[in-house]
Every structure is written in C-alpha cells, then in structure tokens.
Amino acid sequence: MQKLGKQTIKFDNPPKIIETASIVGPKEAQGPLAKYFDTLLQDEFWGEETWEKAESKIIKQTVDLVISKAGLAPSDLDFCFAGDLLNQCISSSFGLRELGIPFFGIFGACSTFVEGMILSSILADAGAAKNVLFAASSHFCSAEKQFRFPLELGNQRPPSSQWTVTGSGASIISSSGVGPSVDCVTARQNC
C-alpha cells in the first residue's frame, strides 16, 4: 500500500468485492433500478413500531443477506463498518450488535458507503483482516424527522427537492476471492 499524490492510496494486493446485497423501500421499488435490488419492501414500517426500528431491521436483514449470499458465517468476518443518518448511528449499531463482529460506526451522510469501502479495503490490503463487511442505510421518514420537518406538516416541496432513500446496502470486501477489485482509492478533500 502506498500513497500517490495528495489523496490517493494504491493497493499492493487489491482487495475484492466478493458480494453485495440491498433492500429498498416502496418508493425505490417503483423506480427504474428496482430489478437490481434484492428485496423490495411494500411498507415503510416493515412490521415495526417506529421508523427507526424499521431502519434497524432493514440494515440487519441486508447484512444477513450479504453474509448468506457470500456463503460465509458472521464469525468469518473480521470487522465491519456501517453508518446511517441518525444520532449515534443508532440503526446500524442496533442492527449489527447481534452479529458479534467488531464494529466501527462511520458517519459521512451520502458518502458513508464509499467511506466504508475505502476503510475496509485498507484493512484487507494491510493484512489486518481477511473479510470486512461494510454497510450503509437510511430511511426517508426517520431522516425527515431527524433533519427536516414532520411528515404531516402541510408544506410544499420544490420540484427539485431531494428524497432520502429508504433502504440499505451491504457488501463484503475480501483479501482473496472473485469479484471486482479495488486497485486505488481517492478521498476527496472536504470543501
């Protein structure tokens, strides 16, 4: 592993992305990318009492799915990086606590998933880990509650307003295996 230029890391033994999984909510299920997701939810609550619990369930199920798709057991994973948009990364830490994998909570909003990928790749390339899990999640309703207005508030959204995804993505980076390899990573400076 060596540093190139100001903000790029080049790996000596490029780690592989061996498996991915994703679960998304009802609005994403209606979109043009629907056929690429593993599970489509019909309900924002997914049988839970609150949106935060639903988000926690979404990330837990996504992680379970990626582990089973890769044919691994949770004990095969050395570390995990995960994050979401809520205070204390609560949905990730609660969703992943039963797996018993050493856990790093990360917060990068939109960039959380790629941050997890960069850090996982560094661990895998450095030989500190064989398999590293990384995941990110968000939930439209819990994000609106955390950052914006209550859903029942009668305000108008401009046509260009963005919509936080309800869903979660998880992936496993491995120092060996078959899959796309991560050769270099470039972190952007914060502006």
């Binding site: 029942e152 009668g154 305000n155 046509p159």
Partner: protein, 154 residues
Amino acid sequence: MDKIETNQQYQKYVDKKTPNSPILKNCFNAFWVGGLICSIGQIISDFCKFRGFNEETSGSIVAIILIGISAFLTGLNLFNRIGKFAGAGSIVPITGFSNSIVSPAMEYKSEGYIMGVGSKMFTVAGPVLVYGISASILVGIVYLIFNTQSITLV
C-alpha cells in the same frame, strides 16, 4: 456548453437545469383555498353572531373550530395533502398553526409523552411563538409610551 471550472459556473449550470416551482399555479391555489378557509371562518362567525354571541366570543369560537378541524385533518394524514396543493393558502391561516403543532406531536409520539410529544411539540411553531410574543410586547411598550403622551398632550 462552456467548460465548468469554477463554483460560480457550476452554480449557474445547476440553476439553469433546476426546474422552478410553478409559481402562478401555486399562487392561484393558495388564493382560492386560503379564501375558502377564511370564508368558512366568516360563515361560522356570522352564524355565532346570528345566534346572539358578541363579536369577541364569535372570534374565539371561529378560532377553536378551525384549529379543531385542521388538527383532526392532520391526524387523518389529509392536511399535508391540502398543504402540498395549497401552500400558503392553508399554512398562513390559523389552520397552518394548528398543523405545525399537531404534526410534530404525532411525529415524536414514538419517543414518549414527556421527551417526545411534550418537548418536541413546538419545534416548528416555537420560533413563531417566541418572536411573535416578543414583538407584541415591544409594540405594546411603544404603544404605551406614545399613547400616554398623546393623552397627556390632549
């Protein structure tokens, strides 16, 4: 297409591509829905006066009924649809004030009645209350000073 090199050029490009809000349509909807809400208020007020209430009591009854109706519609998940359609038309009358208190109360109910509903109920309406009441006190003081003077002058 010019090359985008600076932040200002990028901002210009984004502004050009971003769809604008349909202002004319929004204004029209806000006008007639707001007008309708006010007309309903006026009808209730006139009815109260017809039944023998005085001006002040009739005003209070109108406020109570409109607040009650919009709180109920918020609970039924209907008020946000009206608000999305009418914008300021339903936010500016007292109905919007009611909605801005009921909606956080519903949203934060999952966090309990004290730390959730109780403490978060005024997250939207709070600033309006704080500065509205502060401003009215200031205006009251100004009024008191100048009004007393004008009385003494006379």
